[in-house]
C-alpha cells in the first residue's frame, strides 16, 4: 500500500550528501559508528517507520509525514532562517550566503547583545 512505501532511505541521496562534504559513505558510517550491515539492512526495508505508526496512518488515510512533527523549535527556526538566507543571497548578485546567515542570526538578538558579540570577538586572544 502507498503508505507502506513512503519513508525509505535513499542511499543515493546519502552518498550525494557525503560527496558534497568531501566524504564517502564508508567514512560517514565509520564516523557515525554504524556498521555497513546495519545501514544496508535499514536501506532495504520498505519503510523505516515503526509498523504501529504505519498502521495508525493507514487507519487515518494520511501519509506518515503528516503526523510527524519536529519538536525541536530551534531546528525549525534554523531551517527557516537558512531558507531565508538562501532566498536573499539568491536575489543579490555576488552576495555571500554566510554574511546573510550571520546577519539574520544577529537580527534575532537585541542590539546590545549584537554589540557585545562584536566586542567580545575582538578581545579574544589570538590562539594561532
Amino acid at each position: 500500500m502507498w503508505y507502506n512505501e513512503l519513508v525509505r532511505i535513499s542511499v543515493e541521496r546519502i552518498k550525494s550528501l557525503c560527496r558534497q562534504r568531501g566524504n564517502t559513505l564508508t567514512g560517514l558510517l565509520a564516523a557515525a559508528d554504524v556498521s555497513r550491515n546495519a545501514f544496508y539492512s535499514l536501506a532495504r526495508r520498505g519503510t523505516v517507520l515503526p509498523r504501529s505508526l504505519v498502521a495508525v496512518c493507514a487507519q487515518l488515510g494520511v501519509r506518515p509525514g503528516e503526523v510527524l512533527t519536529d519538536d525541536d523549535r530551534e531546528t525549525e527556526a534554523m531551517r527557516s532562517l537558512l531558507a531565508e538566507a538562501d532566498a536573499i543571497a539568491g536575489r543579490g548578485k555576488g552576495m555571500d550566503r554566510e554574511n546573510v546567515r550571520h546577519t539574520l542570526l544577529l537580527l534575532r538578538e537585541k542590539p546590545i547583545d549584537r554589540l557585545r558579540r562584536a566586542l567580545v570577538r575582538a578581545q579574544k586572544p589570538d590562539l594561532r
Binding site: 531565508e84 555571500d96 554574511n99 546577519t103 544577529l106 537580527l107 546590545i112 549584537r114 566586542l119 575582538a122
Partner: protein, 165 residues
C-alpha cells in the same frame, strides 16, 4: 583586569546618562554596524559628539568615575576610566557631511531601556569607502551584504504587515 561581561553596567550607565541629559551624539563606525546586525569585530565603540565642550559630557563622565582628557599635540581627545575604556571619541567622519547633516539621518536603536542615535549602514559604508584602508576594504563586502539583508528583511516585514492589514 577586564570585566567578565563586556560592555556592562558602567558603559551602559554612561550612555544612559548622555541620553538622559540629551547630549547630542551618535554611535558610528563598526560598532554602529554591529548594532544594526553586522557580523563584524570591533575593539571599541566610536562616539561622535556635536560639541565636545558640552558640559553634560563631563558630568556624565563624573557619574561613572571617568574623566575627559583633552587633545594634546598629536594625541586625540580621549575618555579615561574603567567604565569608558571601550569608547573612542570621533571628531570627524571621512567622506561624510557635518555632524548636523548626518545626525538627521541617524537611526534610533534601543539599548538597555533608552534609545541612541546610530549612523545608518549606508553612511558607514560611504565613510569606509572614502577611507579605503586595507581593513576598510576587507569589511566593505560584508557591510554591503548586511545592508541588502536588512533591506530584504524590512521589505518582507512590510509585505507581511500589509498582508495582515
Amino acid at each position: 583586569m577586564r570585566k567578565n561581561l563586556i560592555f556592562a553596567k558602567g558603559e551602559i550607565r554612561f550612555l544612559r546618562e548622555l541620553a538622559r541629559t540629551k547630549v547630542d551624539f551618535m554611535i558610528v563606525g563598526l560598532s554602529a554596524a554591529a548594532l544594526q546586525g553586522a557580523p563584524v569585530v570591533t575593539q571599541d565603540v566610536d562616539l561622535w559628539f556635536r560639541d565636545l565642550d558640552d558640559p553634560r559630557i563631563r558630568k556624565a563622565l563624573r557619574k561613572v568615575g571617568a574623566v575627559f582628557v583633552p587633545p594634546m599635540e598629536d594625541d586625540p581627545p580621549v575618555f579615561a576610566g574603567n567604565a569608558v575604556e571601550l569608547f573612542d571619541i570621533v571628531t570627524h567622519m571621512h567622506g561624510l557631511g557635518s555632524f548636523e547633516e548626518e545626525r538627521r539621518h541617524a537611526v534610533r536603536i534601543p539599548l538597555g531601556g533608552f534609545r541612541l542615535a546610530v549612523l545608518p549602514l549606508e553612511r558607514i559604508i560611504a565613510s569606509k569607502r572614502t577611507l579605503g584602508r586595507p581593513k576598510d576594504k576587507l569589511v566593505l563586502p560584508v557591510l554591503a551584504d548586511v545592508q541588502r539583508t536588512v533591506k530584504a528583511r524590512s521589505a518582507k516585514k512590510r509585505s507581511f504587515t500589509a498582508g495582515a492589514a
